[in-house]
């Protein structure tokens, strides 16, 4: 059996298990082991560039595919995991709690995301999705001494299990309509004339809603602000980056496999409506927020709206734009959470006031926050600007054949302008407000410094030199 196609996932799971065992046997060395896990993830990422992957289309009875798309996202997810692991090592409340379990859980969730990128079958899709979600239940409520974290955990759990129920029920109806759970077979069955398209579309809609929980898409977005606010900062960082990326990877995979009901292809009304509502919900909801982690929850919803816009617009360029946005978004959002990891150490909250005078207390943190917020707001020359630009171009391209997309593009621009306001307000707190008298200089741990440099480099490079990533994105669509 060709188990070597699973070598990256196996390596990640082994790393997690080793981390757990090492933490149990050498409890005094936990800090060293935690850092070792971050370096291990980075090592697997580096090694993956030198591995030769077999180019079969589907393996393990057609449940597992290893194409350029899957490999590209496995590497992106490994990078995300390495950055989050470095943050987990620097996060004071997690250090106090001790142990290596949090880092091991990050790795297990990463393994789930990597499997998800290769899923070509609803069984693997569901199991991998639940591997991620269940790891996140524990990560969000990991600081079990803090009732905020437990409350966030419960909210994530209820909505997560609800979305799993939607997903499973939807899969059941897809199975009922087509008689299979394999993407290729379902695609084939959809072209036959024997299937009940209405039943299939019902099932697919439920699966889409279930996925919407991972994407933070309306109507399953309500958990995002609460959970981002209450969860430990590294867990929130991973939710905003890895979990969202994994969700969109599945959505794109379902579309590539040709599983979207044909009736949607002329004009995917549901996707378009959800994109517009999600965008506006995030943009308007963020306006009244004073807690920055909560604000990022709304920012994450707005981004989901933007990404859905690209998915709805479709076409090769639309999908490439989604991939571009996902990669640049990961750098921006992890940079913000890295800043918060250091600033909000004591009780893990991040009111806007805690950032006051940041440029005097730590110029590096203030600079990283500046770049990340401008990138999220979409101001050139940063990655976020090009990410939004490509998505808008894809929408306008589609609008040439279907004018309704012009309205969608207009909504997207309006949403971006509203969101700009709250991003800039955070910056005013960090750069213009005077520091409180008692405030001292902040020392930034070197792990966080490395994370910040990687993220800032990523944002700047993707903002001025888009060709390599865009070419890679288009390449992995073939």
């Amino acid at each position: 059996m060709a188990f070597y196609v699973l070598q990256m996932e196996i390596a990640v799971v082994m790393l997690a298990v080793l981390g757990l065992l090492a933490g149990a046997f050498w409890p005094r060395r936990v800090n060293l082991i935690r850092r070792g896990l971050a370096e291990g993830a980075l090592f697997i990422l580096t090694a993956s560039f030198f591995l030769v992957f077999p180019q079969h289309h589907a393996m393990f009875g057609g449940t597992f595919v290893l194409d350029h798309f899957a490999i590209f996202f496995k590497q992106v997810l490994l990078l995300t995991a390495a950055l989050v692991l470095a943050l987990a090592d620097a996060h004071e409340p997690l250090r106090k709690q001790g142990g290596t379990e949090f880092s091991a859980l990050v790795l297990l969730a990463t393994a789930g995301m990597m499997l998800l990128a290769s899923a070509n079958d609803f069984i693997l899709l569901f199991v991998a999705l639940e591997l991620i979600t269940i790891s996140f239940y524990v990560m969000t409520s990991f600081l079990r001494g803090a009732s905020r974290a437990l409350e966030a955990g419960l909210k994530y759990l209820v909505l997560g299990a609800l979305s799993a129920g939607f997903m499973a029920y939807g899969i059941a109806y897809i199975f009922g309509a087509t008689g299979s759970l394999n993407f290729d077979v379902i695609h084939h069955a959809l072209h036959g004339d024997k299937i009940a398209l209405g039943v299939y579309a019902f099932g697919f809609t439920l699966v889409l809603l279930g996925l919407g929980f991972k994407l933070a898409m309306v109507p399953l977005q309500i958990w995002a602000p609460d959970v981002y606010q209450g969860a430990p900062t590294p867990a929130a960082a991973f939710l905003a980056s890895g979990s969202k990326i994994a969700g969109f990877v599945v959505l794109l995979r379902l579309i590539f496999a040709g599983l979207m009901p044909h009736t949607w292809e002329a004009r995917p009304v549901l996707l378009m409506a959800l994109a517009a509502i999600t965008l506006f919900y995030g943009a308007l909801g963020g306006l009244a927020q004073t807690d920055i982690k909560r604000l990022l929850g709304y920012s994450s919803i707005t981004s989901a709206g933007f990404l859905l816009l690209g998915v709805a617009a479709g076409g090769e360029f639309g999908h490439a734009a989604v991939i571009y946005y996902l990669v640049q978004y990961l750098f921006a959002v992890i940079a913000v959470f890295a800043v918060l990891t250091v600033v909000a150490n004591a009780n893990d909250t991040a009111e806007r006031a805690t950032l006051a005078g940041l440029h005097r207390r730590s110029p590096l943190l203030a600079l990283a926050l500046l770049l990340a917020m401008l990138s999220l707001a979409g101001i050139p020359p940063l990655g976020g600007a090009l990410g939004k630009f490509f998505l808008l171009v894809a929408t306008v391209l589609r609008a040439r054949t279907d004018p309704v997309f012009y309205a969608l593009a207009g909504i997207a621009v309006a949403g971006a302008v509203i969101a700009l306001f709250y991003y800039l307000r955070v910056l005013r707190g960090a750069w213009a407000d005077p520091a409180p008298d008692a405030a001292t200089r902040i020392t930034v741990p070197w792990t966080v410094r490395v994370v910040l440099f990687i993220c800032m480099a990523g944002m700047l490079v993707l903002g001025v030199w888009p060709q390599p990533l865009l070419r890679a994105a288009i390449h992995c669509l073939h």
Binding site: F122, I123, F126, V127, E130, I134, Y137, V138, S141, R144, G145, S147, R148, L150, E151, A152, G153, L154, K155, L157, V158, A161, L162, A164, G165, F166, A168, Y169, I171, A172, Y173, F175, G176, G179, S180, L181, N182, P225, D226, Q229, G230, A288, Q289, T290, D291, R294, L295
Partner: protein, 102 residues
């Protein structure tokens, strides 16, 4: 004697799903909300097994088995979170859990 067919199983499964949803939306006790979530997953299982039996494809039963295992894992973690929350707050009434808001 009435013949029991696919449609009857689907009706029961749909009723279970609706009851589960109602339980999640209406109940204020975290344990009962949790029960509703399990009901949803079992509604999906029933539909899967029924489709599998009447369609003649075994994959549905395989997925149902996986869902049972996943639901068990979810219960283990969910109850742990609820117990930890009860220890901190001495309540599991969802209306009272409002410390996170903006």
């Amino acid at each position: 004697m009435m013949h029991v067919g696919l449609i009857h199983y689907l009706a029961v499964s749909g009723a279970l799903f609706a009851l589960g949803l109602a339980c999640i939306v209406l109940r204020r006790n975290a344990l009962l909300v949790f029960m509703g979530l399990e009901l949803n997953l079992n509604a999906a299982n029933l539909a899967l097994v029924a489709f599998s039996r009447y369609g003649g494809h075994a994959e549905g039963q395989v997925l149902a088995t996986f869902i049972i295992a996943i639901a068990a894992a979810e219960v283990a973690i969910g109850l742990a979170i609820i117990v930890a929350l009860f220890r901190r707050r001495a309540t599991i009434v969802t209306d009272l859990l409002r410390s996170l808001k903006g």
